[in-house]
Protein backbone atom coordinates (compact mmCIF):
# COMPACT_ATOMS: atom_id res chain seq x y z
CA UNK A 1 0.00 0.00 0.00
CA UNK A 2 1.43 3.34 -1.02
CA UNK A 3 0.74 6.62 0.72
CA UNK A 4 -0.64 9.75 -0.93
CA UNK A 5 2.72 11.42 -1.33
CA UNK A 6 4.15 8.30 -2.96
CA UNK A 7 2.25 8.97 -6.22
CA UNK A 8 5.48 9.20 -8.21
CA UNK A 9 6.56 5.84 -6.82
CA UNK A 10 3.20 4.28 -7.56
CA UNK A 11 3.47 5.43 -11.17
CA UNK A 12 6.78 3.71 -11.73
CA UNK A 13 5.53 0.59 -10.06
CA UNK A 14 2.58 0.68 -12.41
CA UNK A 15 4.89 0.98 -15.40
CA UNK A 16 6.83 -2.03 -14.20
CA UNK A 17 3.63 -4.01 -13.72
CA UNK A 18 2.41 -3.06 -17.19
CA UNK A 19 5.71 -4.07 -18.74
CA UNK A 20 5.66 -7.42 -16.99
CA UNK A 21 2.09 -8.04 -18.12
CA UNK A 22 3.01 -7.20 -21.69
CA UNK A 23 6.01 -9.53 -21.60
CA UNK A 24 3.86 -12.33 -20.31
CA UNK A 25 1.28 -11.71 -23.00
CA UNK A 26 3.54 -11.42 -26.08
CA UNK A 27 6.80 -12.93 -24.81
CA UNK A 28 8.77 -9.83 -25.71
CA UNK A 29 12.12 -9.30 -24.07
CA UNK A 30 11.74 -6.49 -21.52
CA UNK A 31 14.73 -7.35 -19.38
CA UNK A 32 16.73 -4.21 -19.94
CA UNK A 33 13.66 -1.93 -19.82
CA UNK A 34 12.65 -3.58 -16.58
CA UNK A 35 16.08 -3.21 -15.12
CA UNK A 36 16.21 0.48 -15.87
CA UNK A 37 12.70 0.97 -14.49
CA UNK A 38 13.75 -0.83 -11.31
CA UNK A 39 16.68 1.50 -10.96
CA UNK A 40 14.41 4.45 -11.57
CA UNK A 41 12.03 3.16 -8.94
CA UNK A 42 14.76 2.79 -6.34
CA UNK A 43 16.05 6.24 -7.08
CA UNK A 44 12.59 7.71 -6.83
CA UNK A 45 11.88 6.00 -3.49
CA UNK A 46 15.19 7.24 -2.21
CA UNK A 47 14.41 10.74 -3.36
CA UNK A 48 10.91 10.83 -1.90
CA UNK A 49 12.08 9.46 1.44
CA UNK A 50 15.01 11.81 1.68
CA UNK A 51 12.67 14.77 1.37
CA UNK A 52 9.89 13.67 3.72
CA UNK A 53 8.07 16.50 5.40
CA UNK A 54 7.25 16.00 9.09
CA UNK A 55 3.64 15.25 8.21
CA UNK A 56 4.73 12.67 5.63
CA UNK A 57 6.92 11.11 8.33
CA UNK A 58 3.87 10.90 10.58
CA UNK A 59 2.13 8.97 7.82
CA UNK A 60 5.06 6.60 7.42
CA UNK A 61 5.21 6.07 11.18
CA UNK A 62 1.54 5.09 11.04
CA UNK A 63 1.82 3.05 7.83
CA UNK A 64 -0.51 0.05 8.09
CA UNK A 65 2.27 -2.26 6.92
CA UNK A 66 4.92 -0.87 9.23
CA UNK A 67 6.39 -3.58 11.49
CA UNK A 68 4.68 -3.76 14.86
CA UNK A 69 5.67 -5.23 18.22
CA UNK A 70 4.99 -8.84 17.23
CA UNK A 71 7.18 -8.44 14.15
CA UNK A 72 10.06 -7.02 16.17
CA UNK A 73 9.72 -9.86 18.65
CA UNK A 74 10.03 -12.43 15.88
CA UNK A 75 12.62 -10.46 13.98
CA UNK A 76 15.03 -9.43 16.73
CA UNK A 77 14.74 -11.81 19.65
CA UNK A 78 15.96 -15.39 19.71
CA UNK A 79 13.53 -16.14 22.53
CA UNK A 80 10.40 -14.50 23.88
CA UNK A 81 8.38 -15.82 26.80
CA UNK A 82 5.30 -13.67 27.15
CA UNK A 83 4.24 -13.00 30.72
CA UNK A 84 0.88 -11.66 31.73
CA UNK A 85 -1.04 -9.66 34.26
CA UNK A 86 -0.62 -6.69 36.56
CA UNK A 87 -1.35 -8.80 39.68
CA UNK A 88 -4.11 -6.39 40.53
CA UNK A 89 -6.84 -6.08 37.96
CA UNK A 90 -6.23 -7.47 34.52
CA UNK A 91 -4.03 -8.32 31.60
CA UNK A 92 -3.97 -5.45 29.15
CA UNK A 93 -3.73 -6.69 25.58
CA UNK A 94 -2.25 -3.46 24.22
CA UNK A 95 0.89 -3.86 26.27
CA UNK A 96 2.96 -6.97 25.72
CA UNK A 97 5.82 -8.10 27.90
CA UNK A 98 7.97 -10.95 29.04
CA UNK A 99 11.41 -12.45 29.17
CA UNK A 100 13.34 -12.11 25.94
CA UNK A 101 16.79 -12.72 24.57
CA UNK A 102 18.44 -10.31 22.15
CA UNK A 103 21.94 -11.13 20.97
CA UNK A 104 23.57 -12.54 24.08
CA UNK A 105 21.44 -10.42 26.40
CA UNK A 106 18.62 -11.82 28.47
CA UNK A 107 16.20 -9.05 29.33
CA UNK A 108 12.66 -8.09 30.13
CA UNK A 109 10.93 -6.83 27.01
CA UNK A 110 7.92 -4.51 27.13
CA UNK A 111 6.09 -2.72 24.38
CA UNK A 112 2.81 -1.85 22.76
CA UNK A 113 1.30 -4.12 20.17
CA UNK A 114 -1.12 -2.56 17.71
CA UNK A 115 -2.36 -5.77 16.12
CA UNK A 116 -2.36 -6.49 12.39
CA UNK A 117 -5.77 -7.88 11.47
CA UNK A 118 -8.97 -6.09 12.39
CA UNK A 119 -9.66 -8.58 15.20
CA UNK A 120 -6.14 -8.21 16.53
CA UNK A 121 -6.35 -4.45 16.39
CA UNK A 122 -9.55 -4.44 18.39
CA UNK A 123 -8.15 -6.88 20.93
CA UNK A 124 -5.01 -4.76 21.25
CA UNK A 125 -7.12 -1.60 21.45
CA UNK A 126 -5.02 -0.23 18.55
CA UNK A 127 -2.00 -0.13 20.82
CA UNK A 128 -3.63 2.18 23.34
CA UNK A 129 -2.95 0.90 26.81
CA UNK A 130 -5.18 1.12 29.86
CA UNK A 131 -3.75 1.60 33.38
CA UNK A 132 -3.49 -2.18 33.73
CA UNK A 133 -1.02 -2.18 30.86
CA UNK A 134 1.28 0.34 32.51
CA UNK A 135 1.02 -1.57 35.78
CA UNK A 136 1.85 -4.83 34.05
CA UNK A 137 4.89 -3.17 32.51
CA UNK A 138 5.97 -1.89 35.93
CA UNK A 139 5.55 -5.31 37.48
CA UNK A 140 7.78 -6.81 34.80
CA UNK A 141 10.35 -4.06 35.21
CA UNK A 142 10.46 -4.76 38.95
CA UNK A 143 11.02 -8.41 38.07
CA UNK A 144 13.92 -7.34 35.86
CA UNK A 145 15.29 -5.42 38.82
CA UNK A 146 15.05 -8.47 41.08
CA UNK A 147 16.75 -10.62 38.45
CA UNK A 148 19.28 -7.92 37.57
CA UNK A 149 18.60 -8.08 33.88
CA UNK A 150 18.05 -5.03 31.67
CA UNK A 151 14.76 -3.75 30.31
CA UNK A 152 14.18 -3.29 26.60
CA UNK A 153 11.18 -1.16 25.75
CA UNK A 154 9.68 -0.78 22.29
CA UNK A 155 7.38 2.19 21.90
CA UNK A 156 4.60 2.38 19.33
CA UNK A 157 1.33 3.86 20.50
CA UNK A 158 -0.95 6.65 19.36
CA UNK A 159 -1.71 7.47 23.02
CA UNK A 160 -2.73 6.10 26.37
CA UNK A 161 -6.37 5.15 25.96
CA UNK A 162 -8.68 8.07 26.73
CA UNK A 163 -11.59 5.99 28.03
CA UNK A 164 -13.95 6.15 30.95
CA UNK A 165 -12.63 3.05 32.68
CA UNK A 166 -9.07 4.14 32.04
CA UNK A 167 -9.79 7.26 34.06
CA UNK A 168 -11.64 5.31 36.75
CA UNK A 169 -8.72 3.00 37.24
CA UNK A 170 -6.18 5.78 37.22
CA UNK A 171 -4.55 6.30 33.84
CA UNK A 172 -2.74 9.35 35.19
CA UNK A 173 -1.55 7.54 38.31
CA UNK A 174 -0.33 4.53 36.36
CA UNK A 175 1.78 6.62 34.00
CA UNK A 176 3.07 8.87 36.78
CA UNK A 177 4.02 5.85 38.89
CA UNK A 178 5.96 4.36 35.98
CA UNK A 179 7.86 7.59 35.36
CA UNK A 180 8.82 7.74 39.03
CA UNK A 181 9.79 4.10 39.34
CA UNK A 182 11.64 3.97 36.02
CA UNK A 183 13.74 6.95 37.10
CA UNK A 184 15.07 4.83 39.96
CA UNK A 185 15.03 1.32 38.46
CA UNK A 186 18.36 -0.32 39.24
CA UNK A 187 18.92 -2.01 35.87
CA UNK A 188 19.65 -0.57 32.41
CA UNK A 189 16.65 0.51 30.33
CA UNK A 190 16.99 0.80 26.56
CA UNK A 191 14.03 2.41 24.83
CA UNK A 192 13.38 2.36 21.09
CA UNK A 193 10.60 4.33 19.46
CA UNK A 194 9.68 2.15 16.50
CA UNK A 195 6.54 3.90 15.25
CA UNK A 196 4.36 6.40 17.05
CA UNK A 197 5.68 7.87 20.26
CA UNK A 198 2.34 9.18 21.41
CA UNK A 199 2.64 11.59 24.28
CA UNK A 200 2.36 10.46 27.93
CA UNK A 201 1.10 7.09 26.72
CA UNK A 202 4.49 6.49 25.12
CA UNK A 203 6.54 8.07 27.88
CA UNK A 204 4.92 5.73 30.42
CA UNK A 205 7.30 3.02 29.22
CA UNK A 206 9.96 5.25 27.67
CA UNK A 207 12.12 6.58 30.50
CA UNK A 208 15.52 5.04 29.93
CA UNK A 209 19.27 5.25 29.85
CA UNK A 210 19.33 5.17 26.08
CA UNK A 211 16.45 6.31 23.93
CA UNK A 212 16.70 5.33 20.29
CA UNK A 213 14.40 6.16 17.43
CA UNK A 214 13.81 4.65 14.04
CA UNK A 215 14.46 7.25 11.37
CA UNK A 216 10.84 7.51 10.23
CA UNK A 217 9.20 7.17 13.61
CA UNK A 218 7.77 10.14 15.48
CA UNK A 219 7.59 11.26 19.08
CA UNK A 220 5.27 14.03 20.10
CA UNK A 221 3.74 15.76 23.10
CA UNK A 222 0.37 15.69 21.33
CA UNK A 223 -0.86 14.18 18.07
CA UNK A 224 -0.50 16.79 15.30
CA UNK A 225 -4.25 16.61 14.67
CA UNK A 226 -4.96 17.44 18.30
CA UNK A 227 -2.51 20.30 18.34
CA UNK A 228 -3.97 21.69 15.11
CA UNK A 229 -7.49 21.45 16.50
CA UNK A 230 -6.49 23.47 19.55
CA UNK A 231 -3.98 26.00 18.26
CA UNK A 232 -5.13 26.31 14.63
CA UNK A 233 -8.76 25.53 15.50
CA UNK A 234 -8.72 23.18 12.53
CA UNK A 235 -7.62 19.55 12.65
CA UNK A 236 -6.90 19.77 8.91
CA UNK A 237 -3.88 21.88 9.76
CA UNK A 238 -2.15 18.78 11.18
CA UNK A 239 0.70 19.10 8.64
CA UNK A 240 1.48 22.58 9.94
CA UNK A 241 1.29 21.35 13.51
CA UNK A 242 3.55 18.39 12.75
CA UNK A 243 6.05 20.81 11.31
CA UNK A 244 5.83 23.17 14.27
CA UNK A 245 5.99 20.40 16.89
CA UNK A 246 9.27 19.00 15.51
CA UNK A 247 8.20 15.40 15.87
CA UNK A 248 10.81 13.72 13.69
CA UNK A 249 13.91 11.85 14.75
CA UNK A 250 16.49 14.33 13.41
CA UNK A 251 14.85 17.21 15.27
CA UNK A 252 14.71 15.19 18.47
CA UNK A 253 18.32 14.15 18.17
CA UNK A 254 19.31 17.76 17.66
CA UNK A 255 17.39 18.80 20.76
CA UNK A 256 19.12 16.11 22.81
CA UNK A 257 15.91 14.22 23.52
CA UNK A 258 17.08 10.98 21.94
CA UNK A 259 20.49 9.40 21.83
CA UNK A 260 20.57 7.80 18.40
CA UNK A 261 18.68 7.42 15.15
CA UNK A 262 18.39 3.92 13.73
CA UNK A 263 18.44 4.29 9.96
CA UNK A 264 15.53 2.57 8.25
CA UNK A 265 15.95 0.90 4.85
CA UNK A 266 15.26 3.03 1.80
CA UNK A 267 11.53 3.63 1.55
CA UNK A 268 10.82 2.94 5.19
CA UNK A 269 10.76 -0.01 7.58
CA UNK A 270 7.75 -1.57 5.88
CA UNK A 271 9.64 -1.95 2.58
CA UNK A 272 12.33 -4.11 4.22
CA UNK A 273 11.40 -5.34 7.69
CA UNK A 274 14.30 -7.79 7.88
CA UNK A 275 16.86 -5.04 7.38
CA UNK A 276 14.98 -2.93 9.92
CA UNK A 277 15.19 -5.67 12.52
CA UNK A 278 18.89 -6.20 11.90
CA UNK A 279 19.68 -2.52 12.31
CA UNK A 280 17.47 -2.14 15.39
CA UNK A 281 18.79 -5.25 17.07
CA UNK A 282 22.34 -4.20 16.49
CA UNK A 283 21.68 -0.75 17.98
CA UNK A 284 19.95 -2.15 21.05
CA UNK A 285 22.59 -4.80 21.67
CA UNK A 286 25.36 -2.21 21.48
CA UNK A 287 23.59 -0.04 24.03
CA UNK A 288 22.97 -2.96 26.38
CA UNK A 289 26.59 -4.03 26.27
CA UNK A 290 27.71 -0.53 27.13
CA UNK A 291 25.17 0.08 29.90
CA UNK A 292 25.78 -3.26 31.59
CA UNK A 293 29.33 -2.15 32.34
CA UNK A 294 28.15 0.72 34.52
CA UNK A 295 27.83 0.40 38.27
CA UNK A 296 24.33 0.79 39.65
CA UNK A 297 25.27 4.12 41.16
CA UNK A 298 26.73 5.46 37.94
CA UNK A 299 23.80 4.14 35.91
CA UNK A 300 21.22 5.90 38.06
CA UNK A 301 23.17 9.14 38.35
CA UNK A 302 23.60 9.23 34.59
CA UNK A 303 19.93 8.52 33.94
CA UNK A 304 18.85 11.25 36.33
CA UNK A 305 21.32 13.70 34.81
CA UNK A 306 20.03 12.85 31.33
CA UNK A 307 16.54 14.00 32.24
CA UNK A 308 17.65 16.87 34.47
CA UNK A 309 19.45 18.29 31.44
CA UNK A 310 16.43 18.34 29.13
CA UNK A 311 15.14 21.90 29.06
CA UNK A 312 17.51 22.96 31.81
CA UNK A 313 17.65 26.71 32.20
CA UNK A 314 21.13 27.90 31.37
CA UNK A 315 21.81 31.01 33.42
CA UNK A 316 24.90 31.99 31.45
CA UNK A 317 22.98 31.89 28.20
CA UNK A 318 19.70 33.41 29.29
CA UNK A 319 20.71 35.98 31.85
CA UNK A 320 21.61 38.42 29.06
CA UNK A 321 17.96 38.75 27.99
Amino acid sequence: MNLDFEQSITEIEQQIADLQKKAEADGSNVKSDLSSLQKKLEAQIKKVYSELTPWQTVQVARHPERPIMRDYIKGMFSEFIDLHGDRCFGDDQALVGGFATIGSHRCVLIGMDKGRTVEEKIKANFGMSNPDGYRKALRLMKLAEKYQIPVVSLVDTPAAYPGREAEERGQAEAIARNLTEMAGLKVPIVVTVTGEGGSGGALGIAVGDSVLMLSHSIYSVIPPEGCAAILWRDAEKAPEAAEALKVTAPSLLQMGIIDEIIQEPVGGAHRDPAATFTATRSAIVKRLSKLKKLSEHKLLAQRREKYARIGKYDRRRHSTH
Binding site: A172, I175, A176, G184, G200, G204
Partner: protein, 284 residues
Protein backbone atom coordinates in the same frame (compact mmCIF):
# COMPACT_ATOMS: atom_id res chain seq x y z
CA UNK B 1 -2.57 38.58 52.75
CA UNK B 2 -1.79 41.57 50.60
CA UNK B 3 -2.20 39.48 47.48
CA UNK B 4 -5.86 38.93 48.14
CA UNK B 5 -6.55 42.63 48.22
CA UNK B 6 -4.41 43.55 45.28
CA UNK B 7 -5.57 40.77 42.99
CA UNK B 8 -8.51 40.34 40.65
CA UNK B 9 -8.23 43.84 39.21
CA UNK B 10 -9.06 42.45 35.79
CA UNK B 11 -12.53 41.45 36.86
CA UNK B 12 -13.46 45.00 37.81
CA UNK B 13 -16.60 46.12 36.03
CA UNK B 14 -17.03 49.63 34.60
CA UNK B 15 -20.08 50.44 36.73
CA UNK B 16 -18.79 51.47 40.14
CA UNK B 17 -21.47 49.86 42.23
CA UNK B 18 -20.86 46.42 40.76
CA UNK B 19 -17.27 46.68 41.88
CA UNK B 20 -18.22 45.78 45.44
CA UNK B 21 -19.70 42.47 44.39
CA UNK B 22 -18.44 39.35 42.79
CA UNK B 23 -20.52 36.60 41.23
CA UNK B 24 -19.81 32.98 42.15
CA UNK B 25 -18.92 31.19 38.91
CA UNK B 26 -20.69 28.08 40.15
CA UNK B 27 -23.96 29.10 41.84
CA UNK B 28 -24.07 32.68 40.51
CA UNK B 29 -24.66 34.06 43.99
CA UNK B 30 -23.70 37.70 44.52
CA UNK B 31 -21.11 38.01 47.23
CA UNK B 32 -19.28 41.01 48.62
CA UNK B 33 -15.80 41.06 47.16
CA UNK B 34 -14.33 41.65 50.55
CA UNK B 35 -16.05 38.56 51.92
CA UNK B 36 -15.08 36.57 48.85
CA UNK B 37 -11.42 37.42 49.40
CA UNK B 38 -11.66 36.80 53.11
CA UNK B 39 -13.06 33.35 52.35
CA UNK B 40 -10.03 32.73 50.10
CA UNK B 41 -12.21 32.78 46.98
CA UNK B 42 -14.47 30.07 48.31
CA UNK B 43 -18.19 30.62 47.86
CA UNK B 44 -20.00 30.80 51.19
CA UNK B 45 -23.18 29.68 49.47
CA UNK B 46 -22.13 26.61 47.48
CA UNK B 47 -18.58 25.88 48.62
CA UNK B 48 -17.14 26.41 45.14
CA UNK B 49 -13.36 26.81 45.26
CA UNK B 50 -12.32 29.40 42.70
CA UNK B 51 -8.84 29.38 41.24
CA UNK B 52 -6.13 31.25 43.11
CA UNK B 53 -3.15 33.08 41.71
CA UNK B 54 0.17 31.72 42.83
CA UNK B 55 0.68 34.67 45.15
CA UNK B 56 -2.73 34.25 46.73
CA UNK B 57 -1.96 30.58 47.27
CA UNK B 58 1.38 31.29 48.86
CA UNK B 59 -0.25 33.89 51.11
CA UNK B 60 -2.83 31.47 52.47
CA UNK B 61 -0.49 28.49 52.73
CA UNK B 62 2.73 29.52 54.45
CA UNK B 63 3.66 31.65 57.44
CA UNK B 64 3.55 35.37 56.79
CA UNK B 65 6.72 36.82 55.32
CA UNK B 66 8.42 33.41 55.41
CA UNK B 67 8.38 32.82 51.64
CA UNK B 68 11.66 33.21 49.77
CA UNK B 69 11.36 32.61 46.07
CA UNK B 70 13.77 30.25 44.34
CA UNK B 71 14.84 30.35 40.71
CA UNK B 72 12.76 33.40 39.93
CA UNK B 73 14.81 34.11 36.83
CA UNK B 74 13.70 30.97 35.00
CA UNK B 75 11.37 31.86 32.17
CA UNK B 76 9.91 30.23 29.10
CA UNK B 77 12.27 29.34 26.30
CA UNK B 78 11.19 28.80 22.74
CA UNK B 79 12.99 25.53 22.01
CA UNK B 80 11.00 24.89 18.82
CA UNK B 81 10.69 28.45 17.47
CA UNK B 82 7.05 27.63 17.66
CA UNK B 83 4.30 29.60 16.04
CA UNK B 84 0.74 28.63 15.28
CA UNK B 85 -1.92 30.26 13.12
CA UNK B 86 -2.29 33.27 15.36
CA UNK B 87 0.93 33.95 17.18
CA UNK B 88 4.49 33.12 18.04
CA UNK B 89 5.06 31.28 21.31
CA UNK B 90 7.93 33.59 22.19
CA UNK B 91 5.59 36.59 21.97
CA UNK B 92 2.83 34.90 23.89
CA UNK B 93 5.20 33.92 26.67
CA UNK B 94 6.60 37.41 26.86
CA UNK B 95 3.18 39.03 26.94
CA UNK B 96 1.97 36.65 29.62
CA UNK B 97 5.04 37.28 31.70
CA UNK B 98 4.58 41.00 31.48
CA UNK B 99 0.86 40.91 32.09
CA UNK B 100 1.03 38.69 35.16
CA UNK B 101 4.30 39.79 36.60
CA UNK B 102 5.49 36.22 36.99
CA UNK B 103 8.03 34.44 34.85
CA UNK B 104 6.48 31.00 34.62
CA UNK B 105 3.40 28.92 35.46
CA UNK B 106 4.88 27.99 38.80
CA UNK B 107 6.26 29.88 41.72
CA UNK B 108 8.74 27.97 43.88
CA UNK B 109 10.41 28.86 47.10
CA UNK B 110 11.29 27.96 50.61
CA UNK B 111 9.10 28.98 53.51
CA UNK B 112 7.80 27.85 56.86
CA UNK B 113 4.35 26.41 57.44
CA UNK B 114 3.22 26.69 61.05
CA UNK B 115 6.90 26.92 61.78
CA UNK B 116 7.92 23.85 59.77
CA UNK B 117 10.55 24.56 57.10
CA UNK B 118 9.28 23.44 53.70
CA UNK B 119 9.89 23.83 50.00
CA UNK B 120 6.80 24.97 48.16
CA UNK B 121 5.75 25.05 44.52
CA UNK B 122 2.51 26.68 43.43
CA UNK B 123 1.22 26.57 39.89
CA UNK B 124 -0.66 29.46 38.36
CA UNK B 125 -3.36 28.55 35.89
CA UNK B 126 -3.38 32.05 34.39
CA UNK B 127 0.04 31.42 32.87
CA UNK B 128 -0.84 29.64 29.60
CA UNK B 129 -3.26 27.34 31.39
CA UNK B 130 -0.72 26.37 34.02
CA UNK B 131 0.97 24.32 31.36
CA UNK B 132 4.04 22.20 32.07
CA UNK B 133 6.95 23.81 30.25
CA UNK B 134 10.68 23.29 30.51
CA UNK B 135 10.73 26.26 32.89
CA UNK B 136 8.09 24.70 35.12
CA UNK B 137 9.80 21.32 34.97
CA UNK B 138 13.13 22.86 35.77
CA UNK B 139 11.77 24.81 38.73
CA UNK B 140 10.10 21.69 40.14
CA UNK B 141 13.23 19.62 39.67
CA UNK B 142 15.32 22.31 41.34
CA UNK B 143 12.80 22.59 44.16
CA UNK B 144 13.00 18.82 44.73
CA UNK B 145 16.76 19.12 44.66
CA UNK B 146 16.64 21.88 47.26
CA UNK B 147 14.28 19.76 49.38
CA UNK B 148 16.69 16.85 49.12
CA UNK B 149 19.77 18.83 50.03
CA UNK B 150 18.13 20.65 52.92
CA UNK B 151 15.98 17.70 54.04
CA UNK B 152 12.83 19.77 53.84
CA UNK B 153 9.47 18.36 52.79
CA UNK B 154 8.24 19.38 49.35
CA UNK B 155 4.68 20.53 48.75
CA UNK B 156 3.44 21.14 45.22
CA UNK B 157 0.08 22.71 44.38
CA UNK B 158 -0.97 21.72 40.88
CA UNK B 159 -3.30 23.58 38.54
CA UNK B 160 -2.74 22.75 34.93
CA UNK B 161 -4.31 21.76 31.67
CA UNK B 162 -1.29 19.58 30.89
CA UNK B 163 1.91 19.83 28.93
CA UNK B 164 2.74 23.08 27.12
CA UNK B 165 2.50 21.91 23.56
CA UNK B 166 4.31 24.97 22.24
CA UNK B 167 7.44 23.49 23.74
CA UNK B 168 6.73 20.16 22.06
CA UNK B 169 8.67 17.13 23.18
CA UNK B 170 10.75 19.22 25.59
CA UNK B 171 7.58 19.78 27.53
CA UNK B 172 6.70 16.06 27.51
CA UNK B 173 10.12 15.23 28.92
CA UNK B 174 9.46 17.43 31.94
CA UNK B 175 7.09 14.72 33.13
CA UNK B 176 10.03 12.33 33.35
CA UNK B 177 12.28 15.00 34.82
CA UNK B 178 9.95 16.03 37.62
CA UNK B 179 9.23 12.39 38.48
CA UNK B 180 12.97 11.72 38.60
CA UNK B 181 13.12 14.44 41.23
CA UNK B 182 10.31 12.84 43.21
CA UNK B 183 12.00 9.43 42.89
CA UNK B 184 15.04 10.82 44.68
CA UNK B 185 12.89 12.16 47.51
CA UNK B 186 11.26 8.75 47.88
CA UNK B 187 14.60 7.01 48.18
CA UNK B 188 15.81 9.56 50.70
CA UNK B 189 12.62 9.47 52.74
CA UNK B 190 11.85 13.16 52.24
CA UNK B 191 8.10 13.83 52.37
CA UNK B 192 6.40 14.99 49.22
CA UNK B 193 2.81 16.16 49.39
CA UNK B 194 0.85 16.80 46.21
CA UNK B 195 -2.13 19.12 46.38
CA UNK B 196 -4.39 18.89 43.36
CA UNK B 197 -6.48 21.96 42.64
CA UNK B 198 -8.93 22.73 39.89
CA UNK B 199 -8.04 21.73 37.19
CA UNK B 200 -5.20 19.20 37.06
CA UNK B 201 -4.94 17.26 33.83
CA UNK B 202 -2.73 15.58 31.26
CA UNK B 203 1.01 15.77 31.66
CA UNK B 204 0.77 17.19 35.16
CA UNK B 205 -1.70 14.68 36.60
CA UNK B 206 0.27 11.95 34.83
CA UNK B 207 3.51 12.96 36.52
CA UNK B 208 4.38 14.62 39.81
CA UNK B 209 0.83 15.57 40.79
CA UNK B 210 -0.32 11.96 41.17
CA UNK B 211 2.58 10.42 43.07
CA UNK B 212 2.55 12.33 46.33
CA UNK B 213 3.09 10.47 49.57
CA UNK B 214 -0.31 11.99 50.03
CA UNK B 215 -2.47 13.26 47.20
CA UNK B 216 -4.72 15.93 48.65
CA UNK B 217 -7.43 17.59 46.60
CA UNK B 218 -9.54 20.69 46.96
CA UNK B 219 -13.30 20.08 46.96
CA UNK B 220 -14.80 19.84 43.50
CA UNK B 221 -11.46 20.09 41.72
CA UNK B 222 -11.49 18.43 38.30
CA UNK B 223 -8.63 15.96 37.99
CA UNK B 224 -7.94 13.50 35.21
CA UNK B 225 -5.70 12.35 32.44
CA UNK B 226 -7.72 12.96 29.30
CA UNK B 227 -10.29 15.71 29.11
CA UNK B 228 -13.99 14.95 29.36
CA UNK B 229 -14.69 15.99 25.78
CA UNK B 230 -11.93 13.82 24.35
CA UNK B 231 -13.25 10.83 26.26
CA UNK B 232 -16.85 11.46 25.25
CA UNK B 233 -15.74 11.63 21.62
CA UNK B 234 -13.77 8.40 21.99
CA UNK B 235 -16.36 6.28 23.76
CA UNK B 236 -19.40 8.02 22.24
CA UNK B 237 -21.12 8.15 25.61
CA UNK B 238 -22.02 10.92 28.00
CA UNK B 239 -20.06 10.78 31.23
CA UNK B 240 -21.61 11.07 34.68
CA UNK B 241 -21.66 14.59 36.17
CA UNK B 242 -19.22 13.76 38.98
CA UNK B 243 -16.71 12.25 36.53
CA UNK B 244 -13.14 13.38 37.32
CA UNK B 245 -14.15 15.40 40.36
CA UNK B 246 -11.99 15.20 43.48
CA UNK B 247 -14.80 13.25 45.13
CA UNK B 248 -14.80 10.73 42.26
CA UNK B 249 -11.05 10.28 42.56
CA UNK B 250 -11.34 9.77 46.30
CA UNK B 251 -13.89 7.01 45.74
CA UNK B 252 -11.64 5.38 43.17
CA UNK B 253 -8.63 5.37 45.44
CA UNK B 254 -6.37 8.05 43.98
CA UNK B 255 -6.80 10.86 46.46
CA UNK B 256 -6.08 10.57 50.18
CA UNK B 257 -8.27 13.36 51.38
CA UNK B 258 -10.36 16.25 50.17
CA UNK B 259 -9.49 19.31 52.18
CA UNK B 260 -11.34 22.64 52.05
CA UNK B 261 -9.09 25.62 51.44
CA UNK B 262 -9.71 27.08 54.88
CA UNK B 263 -8.34 23.91 56.51
CA UNK B 264 -5.50 23.24 54.12
CA UNK B 265 -2.69 24.94 55.98
CA UNK B 266 -3.41 23.24 59.29
CA UNK B 267 -3.89 19.87 57.66
CA UNK B 268 -0.57 20.19 55.86
CA UNK B 269 1.15 21.14 59.09
CA UNK B 270 -0.36 18.13 60.81
CA UNK B 271 0.67 15.57 58.20
CA UNK B 272 4.17 17.02 57.88
CA UNK B 273 4.75 16.12 61.52
CA UNK B 274 4.63 12.45 60.56
CA UNK B 275 7.51 12.67 58.15
CA UNK B 276 10.23 14.11 60.34
CA UNK B 277 12.43 10.99 60.49
CA UNK B 278 14.09 11.42 63.82
CA UNK B 279 13.98 15.19 63.89
CA UNK B 280 12.40 16.61 67.04
CA UNK B 281 8.64 16.12 66.91
CA UNK B 282 6.36 18.97 65.91
CA UNK B 283 4.58 20.98 68.54
CA UNK B 284 1.20 19.40 69.19
Amino acid sequence: MGWFRRSRKKQTQPVEQVDLWTICPSCKAHIYKEEWAKALMVCAKCGFHDKLTCHERVACTVDEKSFRELDRDIKPRDHLKFSDAKSRYADKAKETTEELGINEAILTGRATLNGIPIVLGVMDFRFIGGSLSSGVGDKIYLASDYALRHKRPLILFSASGGARMQEGIVSLMQMAKTCAGISRLNKAGIPYISVLTNPTFGGVSASYAMVGDLNIAEPGALIGFAGRRVIEQTIKQTLPPDFQTAEYLLAHGFVDRIVPRSEMKDLLAKVLCYGRRGKPPCKP
